[in-house]
């Protein structure tokens, strides 16, 4: 199977008073899940802010589907560590907002949002306000809102970082299910080694600030993956290797 490069980043750099991103190059293929792992404060969020067009890089080129994109706002589904759901909107309306910002009329957005909620088992919560949901549930809704807005490439910034271990592993499966059904391309950041291995096809390892890419580890574990897989011999080997690289 020959895969086409969906996102390509070449020699990206950014400095504020000090250098934060240093010469980062990476590549993400269509329908691939890649993770970017690195210590807290190394520049992962900053990297995503550049990719998504919130910040402008000092140097480097970003290509989507082989074409250089200078204005990238709106071209990614960017999700933050906090769910950032709008507390004045019900779950359905929050997901609708993703479609509405994209340009769909209200009626159409509603139908699409209902479909999405049904497809991924959240329809029974459609009329709940976010503040009545658990942390994991909120993050699921936020994920669907992100997908509603733009599902061509997802940027997930430590999406499960604030959840407890059990909720987190259920969200891992949830993400994998969505990924499989919608054939998504996903980049996510984490500082959790197991999470990186469990979800990804490849793991990029970042250094401390200024962030540079130390290495890229290929995760050739078969899919679909199950929670028990983290105890398999192959998984543990990969874990050891990743720790040695960090």
């Amino acid at each position: 199977m020959k895969s086409q490069s969906k996102l390509k980043i070449n020699n990206l750099s950014l400095s504020f008073e000090e250098e934060i991103i240093k010469n980062i190059s990476l590549e993400v293929n269509q329908e691939e899940i890649i993770s970017i792992i690195g210590p807290s404060g190394c520049g992962k969020s900053t990297l995503f802010n550049i990719i998504s067009g919130i910040l402008r890089q000092n140097k480097g080129v970003i290509k989507i589907d082989g074409i250089e994109e200078k204005k990238r706002q709106g071209k990614f589904g960017y999700m933050f560590q906090e769910p950032l759901l709008f507390s004045w909107l019900k779950v359905l309306e929050n997901v609708m907002l993703g479609y509405e910002i994209k340009g769909f009329k209200k009626e159409q957005a509603k139908l699409k949002a209902q479909d999405l909620l049904k497809k991924f088992n959240l329809f029974e919560y459609a009329n709940f306000y976010p503040d009545s949901l658990s942390g994991g549930m909120k993050q699921k809704v936020a994920l669907l809102r992100t997908i509603a807005f733009n599902s061509s490439i997802l940027l997930l910034d430590e999406p499960f970082g604030s959840l407890d271990a059990i909720t987190r592993s259920s969200l891992h499966l949830y993400l994998l299910e969505i990924w499989k059904k919608l054939k998504l391309t996903v980049i996510f950041t984490t500082h959790d080694i197991r999470e990186a291995i469990f979800l990804s096809d490849r793991v990029y390892i970042l250094s401390k600030k200024p962030a540079t890419i130390i290495d890229c580890l290929k995760i050739n574990l078969p899919r679909p993956r199950k929670t028990e897989d983290i105890t398999s011999k192959k998984f543990v080997e990969l874990e050891k290797k990743l720790i040695s690289l960090l």
Binding site: N49, S52, G53, I54, Q73, G74, F76, Y78, F80, E82, L84, F86, S87, W88, L89, L97, I101, Y129, D131, S132, F149, N150
Partner: protein, 252 residues
């Protein structure tokens, strides 16, 4: 309901104490009437009080509504244009240093004895808490949410409509609650210098005639009206921002 039990109990205690003091020390009615006398005076002059009540309520309501519109206009202007904020802000503060009692005769001089100068006073009294709270609401939006909206390519107008406006509603209602509490008193004060009808004028006349029991009766009515105004705002808030009360309930 439980939360009102204690204040009601304390109020009854105070009234009882008041009644006892006045009776024991034989305090003259024109100096300090007892609660029973005040109630009695209210009952006897009920049609008179009702007659004067109407214009005061009308002035308060129109003034409050005017204040809401003006406040929204000013707050949005300050939010959208930094220059406007720099120009308007000092004037906002300055406007609160004006003693409105002194302004009242001036406004009467300029606009006559009609309802207009009264409404202007109510607006001047009420707009400040609304503007300040609304503006704070616009600015209190989580910066991460703004970042999210920017990443989606939303422009300033869309961010305002989708995020800042709804997010600022709770603080808007906080301001409105304060303004509503002021509105009745604002209307009363505005009537002091020139009106032939209104609780303010009734208050002045009763004072001049040493009808102290009626003065207290009118003060009581003003208090009750102000409380009703606040409760009405509270009710509107509960209907229009149910999600906010949901959040509060969860936190407590």
């Amino acid at each position: 309901m439980k939360q009102y039990l204690l204040p009601v109990f304390v109020s009854i205690l105070i009234l009882f104490f008041w009644q006892t003091i006045v009776t024991i020390f034989h305090i003259e009615q024109w100096i300090l009437p007892a609660p029973v006398q005040i109630l009695n005076s209210f009952w006897q002059s009920r049609s008179l009080i009702f007659y004067h009540l109407i214009p005061t309520i009308i002035e308060a309501i129109i003034g409050l509504i005017g204040a809401v519109f003006i406040s929204i206009f000013i707050a949005v202007l300050m939010e959208r244009f930094t220059t406007m904020r720099k120009i308007i802000y000092p004037f906002l503060i300055l406007s609160q240093t004006i003693p409105f009692i002194i302004l009242a005769p001036l406004l009467t001089l300029w606009f006559g004895f009609g309802i207009l100068p009264k409404i202007i006073i109510v607006i001047l009294v009420c707009f400040f808490p609304i503007v300040i709270n609304l503006f704070d609401g616009f600015h209190g939006v989580d910066p991460a949410v703004l970042r999210l909206m920017t990443s989606m390519g939303a422009n300033q107008r869309q961010i305002f409509k989708w995020v800042k406006l709804p997010a600022s509603l709770p603080s808007f209602f906080s301001g409105l609650r304060i303004a509503a509490a002021y509105s009745i008193l604002g209307a009363v004060v505005s009537e002091w210098t020139g009106a032939d009808r209104g609780l303010g004028i009734l208050l002045i006349r009763s004072t001049k005639s040493y009808l102290t029991d009626r003065v207290f009766a009118v003060i009581g009515i003003i208090t009750i009206l102000s409380m009703i105004a606040v409760l009405l705002v509270e009710m509107i808030a509960r209907i229009s921002i149910p999600w906010h009360y949901y959040k509060l309930k969860k936190i407590s």
